[in-house]
Symmetry: C2
Subunit: 199 residues, 2 copies
């Protein structure tokens, strides 16, 4: 299977900070190889996503792209398949088999925008795909798209070089701290305090 | 099948505005009956979620809850099942069948927090459930939880009293404007401009 890159369009510093972080972390956790962010340049945001990858493992690529249209055209010219997630598109259920076949042969770019995605994106996309036709969230759309396309990889994904690893627990937080792949310590945090962990 | 209510904990005005809107719209689009928001009182936020329901149809309940712990205890006392979505919990795959059985008999409250969810939530929850054990997003977690629990209701959900309805389109935006259930006009917006629609 080939690689999936998520392209986040039109990020605005301030207004979109948290949603763009959610898009990036969802891309990583659900099986994409990386996220490219366009719109306002936001090195702090990119740094905070990289810190998650340092703590929780990789590989996961994150970068800023200045010219998103050039990026899309280059990737298409290289033979990649372009999927645009939009509430106006055709149902994922109608194209899921086709998308899985495409992904066996070609890398995929998945575009998620804020509002006001320009016409050219709809035209350049090989597939304009909807996760239902109601307004909701690009984070929700990306999660369900990747969950269904990759058949639940989020439930079994493993990352390399992780310093932190969760052991599922019915009543609290059980976290392993690792160094070079070896156990450094184990903590059970029954008081539920976040200790600075994301989400 | 019984009703699902999403409880959003610890909303902070400003910082969480957009993520909380995404939580609410995801709850609606993926088949929950309503969302209760606790934390900062934010009437503007609640108004904007209600406007989406007026335009795109209902029923969908949205309200502020002052005392979230009292709300949880009341709902549990009334016999509802409490599910807390957390990256530290047990895998959804391990409890999905059980949760479907529960939902046949009892209403369900699904709790999604910001960071720093206190211990009492882990203790009160009948199920602490993870959509994978990596950090990502409460919006992603809620979407996949509801998609899998309700077996893709997002792809077939219909709302009453909608003024707007999308007709899936491979290349643009096709939107019906309705009045009292009757077609008022149909528009195809090939230029991809958002015209103020959410998402």
């Amino acid at each position: 299977m080939r690689r999936i890159t998520v392209l986040r369009l039109f990020h605005r510093v301030g207004r979109d900070d948290r949603v763009t972080v959610h898009v990036a972390l969802t891309a990583r956790a659900f099986g994409a190889s990386g996220v490219m962010i366009s719109g306002d340049r936001d090195d702090g945001l990119i740094g905070s996503i990289r810190r998650v990858t340092e703590q929780w493992g990789g590989p996961f690529e994150v970068d800023f792209v200045e010219d998103w249209e050039g990026y899309i055209r280059d990737r298409k010219a290289a033979g990649d398949v372009l999927v645009h997630l939009t509430m106006y598109g055709v149902s994922l259920l109608d194209v899921l088999g086709e998308l899985r076949n495409q992904l066996d042969q070609r890398d995929m770019v998945v575009v998620v925008g804020a509002s006001k995605v320009p016409r050219v994106v709809y035209e350049l996309a090989d597939y304009n795909v909807a996760i239902g036709n109601q307004p909701h969230s690009e984070v929700a759309a990306l999660a369900v798209f990747l969950d269904r396309l990759l058949e639940g990889r989020v439930f079994k994904v493993e990352f390399e070089g992780a310093m932190l690893k969760v052991i599922p627990d019915p009543r609290g937080k059980r976290v392993l701290r690792l160094r070079g792949g070896n156990l450094k310590s184990e903590a059970w945090d029954g008081d539920g305090r976040g200790r600075g962990l994301v989400v």
